[in-house]
């Protein structure tokens, strides 16, 4: 069972930069990054990535199935999708409970549905790590609940890393919190308290308690 970590921090604190470094889209000025034991350029085929909602053109003419299949792309010259690719896409769509919509146009779906399609695309490549950038920015509370159930199930077989500037999102499902504001500090959820939040955001925040599973063990790095 993998970790379930959330990256939190204020805007401009470097959350996106950290993600891009992890994905190998940016190169570090100094130091070395390893993911699953290899540099990001090598290991990123084993990573499922869901980008921020605002980065995509939501009017783009493309079907749901075609978006999900993009997760099966490879650098081979001849780029047809096989039966196997289609099956993997169907499985991924089932997993995020949106297979009814597979032949619909992506642009017709609601924000929450689009986000689930993008998760399906990330799952389609059978990743070992799932990275989600601001997944809750466009969904209502009810969808957020479903969304969390899906993530919890996935967490049983993969590590999940999730970026959020919404602290409420650090729910009972999350095992550790990575705080990014110019520097990176990692806490297990058990250690989260008002002082740490104040340190990160530089101001007072209301602490929301997600009681019953607070004792869950998370990894701790100093």
């Amino acid at each position: 069972m993998g970790d379930f970590a959330t990256i939190v921090g204020p805007n401009g604190g470097g959350k996106t930069t950290l993600l891009q470094l992890l994905l190998g889209l940016l190169k570090p000025d100094s130091g070395r990054i390893e993911l699953l034991g290899h540099p990001p350029e090598k290991s990123r085929l084993n990573i499922g990535y869901m980008p921020q909602y605002v980065k995509l053109d939501m009017q783009f003419p493309v079907s749901v199935m075609d978006v999900v299949l993009m997760g099966r792309l490879s650098s081979q010259l001849w780029g047809r999708y096989s039966r196997q690719d289609r099956n993997a896409a169907e499985d991924a769509l089932n997993e995020v409970r949106i297979s009814d919509y597979k032949s619909r146009n992506f642009s017709e779906l609601s924000g929450g549905q689009k986000q689930r399609v993008l998760i399906a695309r990330a799952l389609c490549s059978r990743p070992k790590v799932l990275i989600l950038d601001e997944p809750t920015s466009n969904i209502d509370e009810e969808t957020e609940h479903i969304f969390f159930e899906i993530l919890e199930k996935l967490n049983a077989r993969m590590t999940i890393l999730l970026v959020s500037h919404d602290l409420g999102f650090v729910s009972q499902k999350v095992k550790s919190v990575i705080c990014v504001n110019r520097e990176v500090v990692m806490h297990p959820t058990t250690k989260m308290n008002g002082t740490i939040i104040k340190e990160i955001y530089g101001s007072e925040f209301e602490m929301i308690r997600h009681d019953h599973r607070f004792s869950e063990k998370g990894c701790f790095h100093e």
Partner: protein, 296 residues
Amino acid sequence: MTTDSAKKDVSMNEFLGALMDPDLLFLRNALIVSVLASISFGIIGTYVVTRRISYLAGAISHSAFGGIGGALYLNRVFNFTWLDPIHGAVVFALGAAVITGLVSIYAKEREDTVIGAIWAVGMAAGLIFIDLTPGYFEISSFLFGDILLISSHDVYMVLTLDIIILAATLIFYNKLLAVCFDEEHAVLRGINTLKYYIFLLCLTALTIVLLVRVVGIVMVIALLTLPAAVAGRFTGKLWHMMIFSILFCMLFNASGLALSFSTGFSTGPAIILIAGSTYLIVISAFKFIKKFKKVS
């Protein structure tokens, strides 16, 4: 039958008759070239519209004028008699495609400034070359199109380009779709997105140069984007959009030629006006239908 529609019928018949007339071979060539070129225009136009790079395509088409001027200059001053203006246009358009592509990837912030500069500098270079070349040239035929310039040689060139673009689209459809929809994700799947992006821009450049003779440098961009923009209203899948754009482009070209023949209007503007008004009618109709649905 009213006199008006009778008149229209006569001019339509005249147009069809003229297509058969051996003395008006240029008209038949113009129709064949513009209908065949619609295949490339529909496909590439769809990519240009969905990837939102019509500004880049504009810069590419205008910079082609630099190549036209350069070719005329070399032709007259250095006696490169084999050199045709279209060769120069191809070279400049491809160069502009590579440069604008690299600029839009690497210089994200000042992209529009650099592309605007390429747009104008290409035009300026062309005009200076023409100043340096002895003799008088009717440059308006390059800027606004002139179907008298079309030869049967052009028919073969358009056919070749159609085959190249159809083949490229069939082979790279999924990758180009991914690169246009979400470039970052395509990179993560191990795809060299820069290569595909530049490749797409080069195909755009070749397509643009092809129809410069029919509609001219200034208006060719409208013929690339309007059919795709109209098509986009009717469908939600990329390849459907391509087929619709091809059909719309053929329709605009053929009806523009017919209109130009029967009224004596210049061909390029006639095609563009038909395309532009169709686009306006279609988007207003969709707005109207949407409102109507909301009310009822």
